[in-house]
Subunit: 167 residues, 2 copies
């Protein structure tokens, strides 16, 4: 009943922070240095290609609560989604499209939810620019959850997966 | 009483789409080809550096409703924010940090609102992965606004600034 994170990209640290201790996380990445650093932080990591069938079987995609696919390479994401969907027709797959125009393709590959960080960012910036609607409060709530307040002088990065200072 | 968009990056098209006809938009970009394409689409464009004081004076930063700073280069964004803030101490400046760790710096440079697309994306993906809270509906509302539904077979890109098919 774990969350299976396929690959590592710009969104992965925010995702790991948000997941915090809300779920057991298993990560698949082909990057050996990255895998070692994640292991050192206490994560379960398998060093393999995120679209390798054997790797997904080994990380129990058949029993996963959900699968997160969000590297900076949408083509690799598509292949990882296709693999996960093939091995588990029922699992909830969420993905991020680095290029907005790939959102639909990742959905067709089998992802249940696909977001575009650029579209989300554009949405909130435009709302803020025209000062519109109740979204201001949603935005503020989201912003408040991000470790960017000048209260402390650290880097704002959470390196310890066991630490969640936002709640 | 216009929205002044300083620079052009990955978020600019989503921002222009969201702004739609809710505001008059003036764009400053040093890229001549980009400037021409935007002009052809009906936008007011000044071909100059987004941190050039004279360019910001010419585009009336003193009378702007808000300033949007969201290129893929956070250093250039910082300089553009500093310039805009210097020329108009009261204008509402919104910005996007490509690197999450630059959020605080862009705020210190003078932006009122700074978002991180990676943090936003990670937030929504993690929420979807653990199936949590009322954010699911917010996410769905946001997703519904994005032109990614398979209802039509176009590219999902809006090239005509006068067309807003989301409302
Ligand atoms: Ca991606
Ligand atoms: Ca930026």
């Amino acid at each position: 009943n774990h969350v299976l994170v396929l690959g590592y990209g710009e969104l992965t640290e925010p995702i790991l922070e948000e997941l915090g201790d809300r779920a057991r996380v298993v990560i698949v990445t082909p990057d050996e240095g990255r895998a070692k650093r994640l292991t050192d932080r206490g994560y379960d990591v398998v060093t393999d290609d995120p679209s390798d069938e054997e790797a997904l079987q080994r990380t129990r995609v058949d029993a996963a609560r959900s699968v997160v696919v969000a590297t900076n390479n949408d083509a690799e994401d598509a292949l990882a989604i296709l693999t996960a969907r093939q091995l588990n027709p029922d699992v909830h797959i969420v993905a991020a499209a680095t290029q907005r125009e790939n959102e639909r393709k990742l959905r067709r590959a089998g992802a249940n939810t696909v977001i575009s960080p650029a579209a989300l960012g554009g949405h909130f910036l435009a709302e803020s620019a025209v000062g519109g609607s109740g979204l201001e409060t949603i935005e503020e709530r989201l912003l408040d959850e991000q470790p960017t307040e000048p209260a402390e002088d650290g880097t704002g990065e959470a390196d310890d997966p066991g630490t969640d200072d936002r709640n």
